[in-house]
C-alpha cells in the first residue's frame, strides 16, 4: 500500500497531502494517527495526532457531548458530570468558532455540523497535529471557507494541520507546503509558492490529464417531467424537467434532498406529485458497495442485477450464455479491467467496479439515466471513462440526471444546473453559464 514514505508536519503549518484516490493517503493518515500499524519504519509524534475521518467516525445515536467526552468523561462520584461535559463542549466550540448544541443527537445533524463535532472531539484531546482526511468532500463552498478559518485559528495556536485532499484549489489557497503521493510513494514535496498547479496535477497522475469529449448543444424534447414533487421529510414542491440529450446537474450540499429526489425518480420511495419519465431507466447508485454491487459475487452475476428476469427471456430459467455475453459486452465497451468475468467483483479496484456499475446502467441505451456521484472515490482514469460514457449517452439522446457533490464534475458535464437546498430548488443556471460563487451561495440558502 505504502512504500518508504516519509512525511513531516511542523507546528503551526498547514501541510497539504494530495494524490489520486487509492494513492495511499488515507492509509498514511491512519498509520500516523496510530489506527493502523506500519510494517516497517517509525512514527515520531510530539504530542497527540488527531484524525478527522473522511467518513466521520462519530456514534450516530449518541448526542454531541457524549461523542466528545467519550473515554475521558468528567465525573461526579460514579456518574458523568453532564453539566461539566456540556460546558466543556460549549467552551471548546467558542474558542475555535465551532458552535454546536451539545445535546443534539448526532444522527439529526447535517453533514457540515457533524464535521464540527468530529473536530471538537479531536480538539478535546489537545492534539499537536491534526490530520483532516478529505475534510471538504461534503461541504458547501461557504462551509469550506469556515473550516479553513478554523484550521487557521488552530495553526495560530501552534497546532500543525495535515490536510488530505485532491482539490488543488484548496491546496493553493490555504496550504504552505504540499506533498504529492502516487501509488504509495512520495513523488513531490515543495512549498506551495514554488510549484504550479499543473505540476502538482501531473505529479498526482504521473502523466497528462485525460480529456473528456466536448459538448454539443442540446435541443431534444422533454422526456422527464416532475411536477410539484413532495417526499415527506425531504422534498417539497419540486418541479423540474430534463430533455433528451441533456445532462441536468443537481448541485447541493449532501443531505438536502438529493437522495429523495433520485429515489423518487427511480421509484424507490413513496412520493406525492407527478413524475413522468420513460420506463427504461439506468441507475448509478451513490454508494457502490452498499447499493450497487454484491462484492462476493462474480462479474457475471453482478452484471445481471436488476435484469435477472430479462436474462431469462421470459422463462423462469436464467439464460447463462446470454448473461455471460451481456457481461462480456459491458466489460469490453466500458473498459472494465479484470482477469475473468467469473472473478468475484471484490477482486477488482473501485474504479473498475464502478465501470461495471456504469456499464450495467448504460448498456441498453436507456432513455433516462440517474447518476449519483458517479465518480466518487475512483481514480482519474476511471473517472475519465465514466465521464466520457455519460457524455456519449447524452449525445445518443439520453436524458441524464447528474447528482454530484463535486462542483467541478457538474461544471464539466452538465448542460444545465439546478441548485437544491433544504428539499427545494433554489436556482437554475442554463446554457452552461455556471457561476461558482452564486451556486455556492444558493447551496446554503434557507
Amino acid at each position: 500500500m505504502l512504500d518508504a514514505v516519509d512525511l513531516t508536519c511542523e507546528a503551526g503549518e498547514i501541510h497539504a497531502l494530495v494524490g489520486e484516490n487509492g494513492a495511499g493517503k488515507s492509509t498514511l493518515a491512519a498509520i500516523a494517527a496510530g489506527e493502523l500499524s506500519a510494517d516497517t519504519g517509525e512514527i515520531e509524534r510530539n504530542g497527540r495526532i488527531g484524525l478527522v475521518h473522511q467518513h466521520f467516525a462519530l456514534i450516530d445515536r449518541l448526542c454531541v457531548w457524549e461523542n466528545v467526552v467519550l473515554g475521558r468523561e468528567p465525573r461526579r462520584l460514579a456518574t458523568i458530570d453532564r453539566g461539566a461535559a456540556r460546558a466543556f463542549v460549549r467552551d471548546l466550540g467558542e474558542r475555535y468558532g465551532l458552535d454546536v448544541d451539545p445535546d443534539a443527537l448526532v444522527e439529526d445533524l447535517p453533514v457540515g455540523i457533524r464535521q464540527r463535532v468530529e473536530l471538537l472531539r479531536e480538539l478535546a484531546r489537545d492534539p499537536s497535529i491534526l490530520i483532516l482526511d478529505e475534510p471538504t468532500a461534503a461541504l458547501s463552498p461557504g462551509e469550506v471557507e469556515r473550516l479553513f478559518s478554523t484550521v487557521a485559528r488552530l495553526t495560530q495556536n501552534g497546532v500543525g494541520a495535515l490536510v488530505i485532499t485532491h482539490k488543488l484549489d484548496e491546496v493553493f489557497a490555504h496550504a504552505e507546503r504540499v506533498t504529492v503521493l502516487r501509488r504509495g510513494r512520495v513523488v513531490e514535496r515543495r512549498p506551495v509558492a514554488e510549484i504550479t498547479r499543473d505540476q502538482v496535477a501531473r505529479a498526482m497522475i504521473g502523466g497528462d490529464i485525460p480529456s473528456i469529449p466536448s459538448h454539443q448543444p442540446t435541443n431534444g424534447a422533454v422526456v422527464v417531467r416532475v411536477e410539484d414533487l413532495a417526499v415527506p421529510g425531504a422534498i417539497e414542491h419540486l418541479s423540474l424537467h430534463i430533455a433528451a440529450g441533456e445532462i441536468l446537474g443537481v448541485a447541493g450540499v449532501e443531505g438536502n434532498g438529493q437522495s429523495a429526489l433520485a429515489d423518487a425518480l427511480a421509484g424507490l420511495t413513496p412520493f406525492r406529485g407527478t413524475i413522468d419519465r420513460p420506463a427504461a431507466i439506468g441507475i448509478i447508485p451513490q454508494d457502490r458497495l452498499l447499493e450497487a454491487v454484491i462484492p462476493a459475487w462474480s462479474l457475471v452475476e453482478n452484471a445481471m442485477l436488476g435484469r435477472e428476469r430479462a436474462a431469462g427471456n421470459g422463462s423462469w430459467r436464467i439464460d447463462r450464455a446470454a448473461a455471460r455475453a451481456q457481461c462480456t459486452a459491458i466489460v469490453e465497451r466500458f473498459d472494465v479491467r479484470t482477469e475473468s468475468i467469473d472473478a468475484p467483483l471484490a477482486t477488482l479496484s473501485g474504479g473498475n467496479q464502478q465501470k461495471l456499475v456504469v456499464g450495467r446502467a448504460l448498456i441498453d441505451n436507456p432513455a433516462f439515466v440517474i447518476a449519483y456521484n458517479p465518480t466518487r472515490g475512483i481514480d482519474i482514469g476511471a473517472t475519465a471513462t465514466v465521464h466520457g460514457e455519460l457524455l456519449a449517452a447524452r449525445n445518443r439522446g439520453a436524458a441524464i440526471l447528474l447528482v454530484s457533490f463535486e462542483l467541478d464534475e457538474l461544471f464539466a458535464l452538465s448542460d444545465r444546473i439546478v441548485v437544491i437546498a433544504r428539499g427545494a430548488l433554489r436556482g437554475e443556471f442554463t446554457d452552461r453559464h455556471f457561476d461558482r460563487d452564486a451556486i455556492g451561495r444558493l447551496m446554503v440558502s434557507a
Partner: protein, 288 residues
C-alpha cells in the same frame, strides 16, 4: 373479581415474570454492547442445572445459587470470547450454545443422578423468592440509570453503536463486549437459579421452556432499554399468571389457547409496533 384475587394474580405475575426479567436485563446489556444474545435460553438452563447440582452436593442452597450464577457467567464468557476473539457468527454460536447447554444438562442428569428428566429435591432458597423479585426490579432501574449516566454505561453503548469510534476514544471494545456477555450470562443464570431454587427445589428437563427466547423478545419490545425490557418481561409474567387464573374458569376458552396467550400477544405486539424498533447499530457485527 375481588381485590384479593387481583392481588394474588399480580403477585403471581411478578413471580412468573422475574426469571424472564433477569434474563432480559442480561440480553439488554450484551446487545447494547454489540453482541446478539440468542444464547439466553442456554445460559438459563446452565444456571438452573448448576444451581440444583451444586445445592444437592453442598447441601447449601446459597452456594448453589452462586454456582448457578457463575456457570451462567461462564457460558456468557464463552459466547463473548468466541464473538470477540474468533469473530464467530453470534447467532449461530448462540444456537450451538443452546444445544450444548440443554443437551449437557440432560446428559448431566443421567450421568450424575442416574435418572432422566429431573434431579432429586435439593435444598432451596424459597424464602428468598420475594427479595429476588424486588432485586430484579431494582436491578432494572439501576441498569437504566447506569447505562445513561455513568462512564461505563456510555462506553458500553459506544461499543454497541460504533466500536471503531470507541476504539479511537481509547476504549477496548473487545474487553467491554466480553465483560457484557459474561454479565449477561450471570443475569440469565440468576434467572435459572430463580426457577430452580427460588420457585422450586429441583431442576427438570425443559423447565426453562423457552423463557430465554421470551426474554429476547422482551429485549426487543423493550427497545433495548432495561426498564422497557423489564416491563415487557413482567407483562409476559402477567399473561402467564392470567393463564393460570383463567384455566378452567372460562368454559368456552380452551386451555391450550391460554397456553399460547403470551406468544400470541407477542405476535400481535410485533404486528402493531415493529418498524419502530432499531437495534444497536453494530449489534451482531464482529469487531474489528
Amino acid at each position: 373479581m375481588t381485590l384479593s384475587l387481583v392481588l394474588s394474580l399480580l403477585a403471581l405475575a411478578l413471580v412468573r415474570g422475574t426469571p424472564i426479567l433477569l434474563a432480559s436485563l442480561g440480553g439488554v446489556l450484551s446487545e447494547r454492547a454489540g453482541i446478539v444474545n440468542i444464547a439466553l435460553e442456554g445460559e438459563m438452563t446452565a444456571g438452573a442445572f448448576a444451581a440444583a447440582l451444586i445445592s444437592f452436593f453442598t447441601r447449601d442452597p446459597w452456594i448453589g445459587a452462586i454456582g448457578g450464577v457463575a456457570v451462567g457467567a461462564a457460558v456468557g464468557f464463552v459466547l463473548g470470547f468466541a464473538a470477540t476473539r474468533w469473530r464467530v457468527d453470534q447467532i449461530v454460536a448462540g444456537m450451538g450454545i443452546n444445544l450444548i447447554c440443554t443437551g449437557g444438562a440432560a446428559f448431566g442428569l443421567i450421568f450424575v443422578f442416574n435418572q432422566a428428566g429431573v434431579t432429586p429435591q435439593v435444598p432451596a432458597i424459597n424464602q428468598a423468592l420475594w427479595p429476588l423479585v424486588i432485586l430484579g426490579i431494582l436491578l432494572a432501574a439501576v441498569l437504566q440509570w447506569a447505562l445513561s449516566r455513568t462512564p461505563i454505561g456510555l462506553r458500553l453503548r459506544a461499543c454497541g453503536e460504533n466500536p471503531h469510534a470507541a476504539r479511537a476514544a481509547g476504549i477496548d471494545p473487545l474487553a467491554v463486549r466480553l465483560a457484557a456477555s459474561a454479565i449477561a450470562g450471570a443475569l440469565a443464570g440468576l434467572g435459572g437459579v430463580f426457577l430452580a431454587l427460588g420457585e422450586l427445589n429441583l431442576y427438570s428437563d425443559g423447565m426453562i421452556a423457552g423463557r430465554g427466547f421470551i426474554a429476547l423478545a422482551a429485549v426487543i419490545f423493550g427497545r433495548w432499554t432495561p426498564l422497557g425490557a423489564a416491563g415487557v418481561a413482567l407483562i409476559f409474567g402477567l399473561l402467564e399468571a392470567l393463564q393460570f387464573a383463567l384455566q378452567g374458569n372460562i368454559a368456552w376458552l380452551p386451555s391450550d389457547f391460554l397456553q399460547a396467550l403470551p406468544y400470541i400477544a407477542a405476535l400481535i405486539a410485533l404486528l402493531g409496533a415493529s418498524g419502530r424498533y432499531r437495534p444497536p447499530a453494530a449489534e451482531g457485527k464482529p469487531y474489528p
